[in-house]
Symmetry: C2
Subunit: 425 residues, 2 copies
Amino acid sequence: MKQVRAELLTIGDEILYGQIIDTNSQWMSVALTNIGVKVVRKTSVADSEAEILQAFKEAEERADIILITGGLGPTNDDLTKPCLATYFNCGLAVHEEALAEVTEFFKSRGRELTELNRLQAALPTACEKITNPVGTAPGMWFNKDNKVFMSMPGVPHEMKRMMEEQVIPRLKNKFTLPVIYHKIIRTIGQGESFLADKIKGWENALPSHVKLAYLPSLGEVKLRLTCFGDSLSVLEEEAEKQATALQALIGQYIYGYGETPIEVVIGNMLRERNMTLSIAESCTGGNVSHMITSVPGSSEYFQGSIVPYSYDIKMSQLGVKEETLQQYGAVSEQTIIEMATLVREKFKTSIGVATSGIAGPGGATPEKPVGTVWIALADGKRVITKKLQLAKERHLNIQLSSMAVLNLIRIGIKESTGNTQKTAT
Amino acid sequence: MKQVRAELLTIGDEILYGQIIDTNSQWMSVALTNIGVKVVRKTSVADSEAEILQAFKEAEERADIILITGGLGPTNDDLTKPCLATYFNCGLAVHEEALAEVTEFFKSRGRELTELNRLQAALPTACEKITNPVGTAPGMWFNKDNKVFMSMPGVPHEMKRMMEEQVIPRLKNKFTLPVIYHKIIRTIGQGESFLADKIKGWENALPSHVKLAYLPSLGEVKLRLTCFGDSLSVLEEEAEKQATALQALIGQYIYGYGETPIEVVIGNMLRERNMTLSIAESCTGGNVSHMITSVPGSSEYFQGSIVPYSYDIKMSQLGVKEETLQQYGAVSEQTIIEMATLVREKFKTSIGVATSGIAGPGGATPEKPVGTVWIALADGKRVITKKLQLAKERHLNIQLSSMAVLNLIRIGIKESTGNTQKTAT
């Protein structure tokens, strides 16, 4: 089977000036990789006719699929459409269906169609119009010698809708693509090299049609299995088998699969068990609560938090004892035990967790350098505490502590409800 | 003066697979634009010798400066160094000074130098080594026919240090660059089109050597003035004059200049006035506290927060009256007034602020659709309240509400301390 190759072309001065970060091409890379298309190059060029036409030509030489984003606005500096018309040697004309769609788009929002908006319905006559259900600039699909040029808006959510609903199905239909199955295994609590060491025997024994990638990010490591073959059901089974083998090796660090992040997994665990959560967060300053409440429906299990940033508030609002703070300091096992226990009692929740640490850059002592963090979980039967020695940088310490607390909640729920096996497999 | 052109070349399969977002090239674009170098293209290619060599050739045809990141690791799939050696027709040899540096790097961290690490000191003999003060892979500078190839590690903080301390000064030295002065004016509280309308007369009258760009992001709009000329001091004066003119037009929305975000500006305002802050945040779920505490030294003015996510916690921990919640609901002016007033009293701070709203997707009623948010500030003399009608999407509502509260704190401090003029000019 011939490999199908794609090039991603981003058009716009704002990219070259660094005014925006191009997140589109990363998203498109993942979408194409997932269907077995190989992305061979990403190119960004300015709003310049000569540069754009040159980039079209080069891309056509390299790739079978050329996906273009940006430069579709109605103003003069948006050149993608006239350049496509030149490249495909055709004119620009108002597309009646596109005009009806853009008119309807404005009407449904109670807005008047301006002359500038009307221009958005003018398309190169050589293209097939692709409907934009969430914006005013239609997409354009061009066939040329078994190759495809596809132009999309640069607005991320418009591009994504168009890719998911129309471009990906059309590409699958037009090209003969390999059968690929991806499985992402999400781990937390250990770094990449620790995991690599634990699973190296398994990794070395992987069959050649199964590839493993480590995808580390702040506080977690995702493992991605990519299986190549002829039958999707066979590959799914293969991936399941390998994931089961991983369970036996590193199961205690695996918190989930696919695209579901730890805060959602924890939310589901709490909801399923009718458990509730409260948080006393000092060094994380509200970030753990923010992560928990970023999940829709979190009010079902999250009661609330206290961020007791000062000694006074730790005492007056949470009830930490003055003697404890004076004798051991705020960043100590004694204080963190009180914080987790007290927030759970005050908020009347199944679980209370707490953080206290030196996020930096100030506040360090010889015994407690920047990055020293205590976390704890109280569930009414016992208190689990953990001391972390993290990074030098404030932002990292906040993020890493937050991930560590979320992991502690996961572990605490599993242990307190006694069904480790159920959750871990 | 001939325009100096740059191309940014990113090497690595992980970019084309979409495993990482390339933030380096955005940062480098800004750094180059700031010194008057025009970025004409960004290119990402795979870890493939043929692709890399082809990309070198194309970039040399287009640009005077070719900045390369990535592909410098010690493993087999890192091909940048052998490709550079091939392209510049030279060998790879251990660079003694580079070896001393990498040895020292490991020694200072108490780690042993492995054979793989030793390889990082092998460089193409045609290059000048550029020291990497924070990592193990040195940079490489190549001169060719008045053009420059510069290869740097892909690790963002290593690349940035190398760019700031060595590459930018060398480029300024080697090329004749225009004199450019940038001034960023940061606004909050109004959207791009509102501001554009307010300042259009001023904008249209700008001299041709002064350019304006709108840089909108969540909840704020930055205006960037770029002045071109011969003398830096003249341009600085010109930019100051234009910024003063903007003050007269939109001064109430201007919160600062340059790279300083709103949470730092607020922190400075509080610190200067010896004021303290507490927060009761419901719909923002901890995010406002997180933003405030992301600033080093925030413990000087931030006492703490309550995140009273449930009705129960609003009553038991904050003291909101049951009648208020029952009669008006949690998302109401009556409740938000109590929240801001109570958190200020309980935490004994100069200012107390509060948020309560329907972040979505659930919880809406016909009278209170998703995106309905109340915010308030209490300072002991009065309570300022504001109702917002924001977006449909949870994440946006949390971010936009947070920015609106930070702006309310800014306004509240200015008004309560009565020196609007001092802060606004």
